[in-house]
Amino acid sequence: MSNIAGKAYAMNVITPIRWYKVWINRLIFKIALNKPSTLKGLVTLSLIHYARWVIIPRNGFPHLHPSQPKENLSYAYMLFFSNFNGSWDQYVDSFTFAIPSGLDLFWKWNVRYPKSVPLTPFHCYIKHNQIDTAHYYNAYPMAASNDVKSAKKVKKALIDFKSVSLEKSPDEFFVDYNRLLNDLQSEFGEMRHTPIVSLSADAVKRRHLQSQNQ
């Protein structure tokens, strides 16, 4: 199991939906897609790199060869993949506390979804339907989603500053430099290894280091 790569956690959840309710879920996703303001809550949470919902119809599992038995399912299935920063509890709890109604709208058509409030049944539902990741790769293990976004601002500000202020007199340069630091103060921060948030993830890391050194 390797759900953690640096500061990111990979969540995989698969839940059944009655086939005749799939269209409702699809419609809600379509509305969310065409009206990004409906996802404002998710944006505000700002701990997600990328997330997605995939609906697999009852007969939608890939069938590649006559030798492969065809699936015969009672339900359609919804797959949820998320890449987020922080621990499992922080993530699940932040949904419950920050965007419970939006979350319910996405999942309430799923069989036995308990709603996101109260918290304990919701925790049980996610744990019951979660699948562990076997290999998780993160291109920037030291960075959180907010680091990626703030780094973009830093790069732009630095290039602008270089072209406008670098060749000014020292005093004028100093004024601009202080302004640059002032403008960017909320974007700064040195990125390092993540602290140990999971003993199993740490064990995976140590095992890999050990095998590399052999």
Partner: protein, 234 residues
Amino acid sequence: MATRSGNATALTVLSPIKHGTVGGTSYADIIRERCLRLPIHERSPLSKVPNTYLARLFILDDVFYESLPGNDSVFNFSDIFSFFSDQARRNALPKKDHLKSKYLVFSSNFYGDLDEYLAGMWDNWAYMDGGVQRDVRYIWEYCVAFDEVTDRDGFISYMKRCQLDASLFFNGSTDDSLQEQLKSLYLKQELTKFAVTYQGRSATEIQQAFRLFIERVQPENLSGPSWTPGQSAP
């Protein structure tokens, strides 16, 4: 299409695994073990696949039976009829589904076009496993119909046959190329260190040092100093 958000693409691939065993171990368990053994971070084969932001592999063994108590509209409706017969309540219990195949799930978030990305997987996926060089075929080896894949085009077409469209793809980060993201992170790191190091120095001193800093970090040069994909230490 929901599979894209700006320049970022969400790829979801479910490849059915063949039924069978090697030396008493099922194909699914062999694939699982191979995935678990993949080197991590900068040594992961995915670090060599251009423009991969975040990606994962896991085995979908089966779907879950919804045995937990829950608030379910149909179930609650059945409560009314259960006054007269217990059959309504029983009929409303969740049904038990089982998959007939296990699936290797590959989920990736990347920058750019799908064909180009899949070609990058075929060409660049490489790692050492117990002193042996492995390519992408090693992971998919026991998947149904993968033995028909012999070249890059075949791989692209195979992965597309296994692909599922996303209904909703949420991008909470940026949709810049990975090179751009890594360069920006590098600059953020270096500028932060610079600001701390030169705090309280004179204007002339800072300006001189800043010139050298710009020469060193080359902010506009994406192929110049930067972080490497999967870099796990400063």
